[in-house]
């Protein structure tokens, strides 16, 4: 069953159309990754889910409740950790959590118990009683995550949770997210880190230009790209005739496709295989034909390849392209309530 359903979300900021009919289903208990370059519409989507922003049109259902009709009960079930951490510098971390607990109407005993639990779990003991103004980015993120989890939400929404974090904070956050998921919390996180999404997510949607352009498990997405990549060298420096012969041989094997000769790499061969189980067979064929195997490497397609396939550009290019067009200051000004 889907815990979260987004249907045909459309949202414009003035003349900028941020979402152009975004549809997404997040199954219950899933850790769902929303992958997209800068400006793809990730934050806009998550802000709509968190009831901060109303879409121009479309539907948002959180565990059967229409978020546009009954935002209050959606807020109760939802933990939202925004992209920019907003803390009160003058409060201590603990005071901020206490405030948060009161805003979610926990009774005092539960509240303090939860604060103690999360303080331990997120390793915040040493600094939780210090003022937030002195925290590093990683500390703020952890505190923000704790405040999103205080009321034990059914659905946790995280906007780029580990961007720019130190390794320690990142690993603390990752392990907590995994644990939460094991215990049944549904998590939706956005990222433009392939690595992060790939390491954590059961399911992924790639969004670009305000729309979902591909979705599925990381494996499914990669499979759609046609299996693993293999690079083969029969000798350290082969020649044209030899490589052509090898290519002919390889093309005759079932499950091998797109054999390409890479002249600039000493006539090595690049090919796609449907499955790793083909590899022994491939070695056999080569040995029988008395080709040596100088080097054979195999790699799974990365999500970067998936992204490239879906959009025709790499994530990096997409980011560079949009970076010049945005006025971040103006956006945050316009996003003010």
């Amino acid at each position: 069953m889907s815990l979260l359903k987004l249907k045909d979300l459309v949202k414009s900021y003035g003349s900028v159309q941020a979402l152009k009919g975004l549809t997404l289903n997040v199954p219950e208990g899933c850790l769902y990754g929303l992958l997209g370059p800068n400006g793809a519409g990730k934050s806009t989507t998550l802000r709509i889910i968190s009831t901060l922003l109303a879409p121009d049109s479309g539907q948002v259902m959180v565990s059967g409740t229409d978020a546009l009709l009954d935002p209050l009960s959606v807020r109760r079930q939802l933990g939202y950790v925004a992209q920019e951490v907003a803390i009160d510098k003058i409060l201590t971390g603990k005071e901020l959590l206490q405030l948060q607990g009161d805003l979610y109407h926990l009774n005092r005993k539960q509240r303090d118990l939860r604060i103690a639990e999360l303080t331990t779990r997120l390793d915040m003991k040493n600094w939780i009683d210090r003022r937030c103004g002195s925290y590093s980015g990683g500390m703020r993120r952890r505190l923000d995550l704790a405040s999103g989890l205080l009321h034990q939400p059914k659905l946790l929404v995280l906007d780029e949770p580990t961007v720019g974090l130190d390794i320690e904070s990142r690993s603390v956050i990752w392990s907590l997210l995994r644990e939460l998921q094991e215990k049944g919390t549904t998590i939706l996180l956005s990222s433009h880190y392939l690595e992060e999404v790939e390491a954590l997510s059961d399911q992924i949607a790639i969004i670009d230009g305000g729309k979902v352009i591909a979705e599925g498990t990381p494996n499914q997405l990669k499979k759609r790209l046609g299996g693993d990549r293999v690079t083969l060298r029969v000798r350290e420096f082969s020649d044209e005739d030899e490589s052509l012969a090898v290519r002919e041989l390889l093309q005759s094997i079932d499950g091998v496709s797109e054999v390409v000769i890479n002249r600039s790499q000493g006539f090595s061969l690049n090919l796609l295989i449907d499955d790793v189980s083909i590899l022994p067979q491939l070695r056999n064929h080569l040995e029988k034909a008395e080709f040596e195997i100088f080097a054979l490497s195999q790699s799974r397609p990365s999500l970067d390849d998936v992204y490239l396939q879906a959009t025709g550009k790499t994530l990096m290019d997409a980011e560079l392209e949009i970076a010049g067009k945005r006025d971040v200051k103006l956006e945050s000004k316009k996003a003010m309530r």
Binding site: R76, I87, R131, R337
Partner: protein
């Protein structure tokens, strides 16, 4: 970690509307006070400034002829009410600033994502905070006034002071919060506060009675909300407190103490009603 249980539900059932609103309002109020106590300079300045006013302004006219002020009271005694009201007024006018900063820094979003039973809690918290501070300020002013020999308002007068301040603080806080949501940023808000503050002081009866003023200024003073708060409090300082007597000789006619309070009351509710749609829209 076995104690870390995600699945159990923590939503306490059957909590009443009122108790949830109280909880969130108190939590937000507590935050404002923590901010205040950790930046005590604002508090100290807020307490000292009116006392300096009282001391310096009171001294300015101490050798003036005895019958200068209406009713023959000393200028210091005349001034006390003005300082009390003006201090509360400027405090309340600043109420929107923390809210504006919360908007700008995105902290407001944290509140808007939370399942607040009513977002009026954000408004209530500001009102409570400002009211407590202006009460503290006026206690300090009244104590200093009595120390300087400018008299005391008496018990009935004391209650009257608090009630009047309550009305004024409500109205001005609502106005300031409305501005905090209507204006684009803190620079604009500070500009409005700056521009509104002193002219409203000078065009009121805080520093001088209407009889001292040219007609045009008299008109302004007689329409200025501050005047309607100042006159009843001044009456409490000038001896026997009788709100039925005429306190204000305005160009449009005489106003009794009750008349002044009634205007204040209407103004407070009027402003509240006027600003509510804006707050509701911004906080919807």
């Amino acid at each position: 970690m076995s104690s870390f249980d995600i699945t159990s539900t923590t939503q306490p059932l059957g909590r009443s509307y009122l108790s949830e609103i109280t909880q969130e309002t108190l939590a937000l109020t507590k935050r404002l006070f923590l901010q205040l106590f950790r930046r005590p300079s604002t508090l100290i300045a807020g307490l000292l400034q009116p006392l300096i006013w009282l001391l310096l302004f009171g001294a300015l006219f101490s050798n003036a002829p005895d019958d200068l002020m209406p009713g023959g009271i000393s200028y210091g005694r005349f001034l006390g009410a003005g300082v009390i009201v003006f201090t509360a007024f400027s405090g309340a006018l600043n109420a929107g600033l923390p809210v504006m900063f919360d908007r700008e820094f995105g902290f407001l979003n944290r509140l808007l994502v939370a399942p607040l039973r009513s977002r009026s809690s954000i408004v209530f918290a500001s009102i409570i905070y400002i009211t407590v501070i202006s009460f503290l300020q006026s206690f300090a002013i009244m104590a200093t006034a009595s120390f300087l020999g400018y008299g005391t308002p008496g018990l009935g007068g004391f209650v009257l002071v608090l009630a009047t301040l309550l009305l004024l603080v409500f109205a001005v806080t609502a106005l300031s919060l409305g501005l905090a949501f209507a204006l684009p940023g803190h620079i604009e808000l500070i500009a409005v506060i700056f521009v509104a503050n002193l002219p409203l002081l000078f065009a009121s009866t805080a520093l001088a009675p209407i009889s001292f003023m040219p007609t045009w200024l008299g008109w302004l003073a007689a329409l200025n909300p501050l005047t309607f708060a100042i006159e009843p409090i001044r009456a409490a300082y000038s001896g026997s407190l009788d709100l039925g007597t005429v306190l204000l000789h305005a160009p449009y006619g005489d106003m009794t103490g009750y008349g002044c309070l009634r205007v204040l009351l209407v103004l407070t509710f009027g402003l509240f009603l006027l600003i509510r749609p804006l707050l509701n829209r911004k906080l919807a």
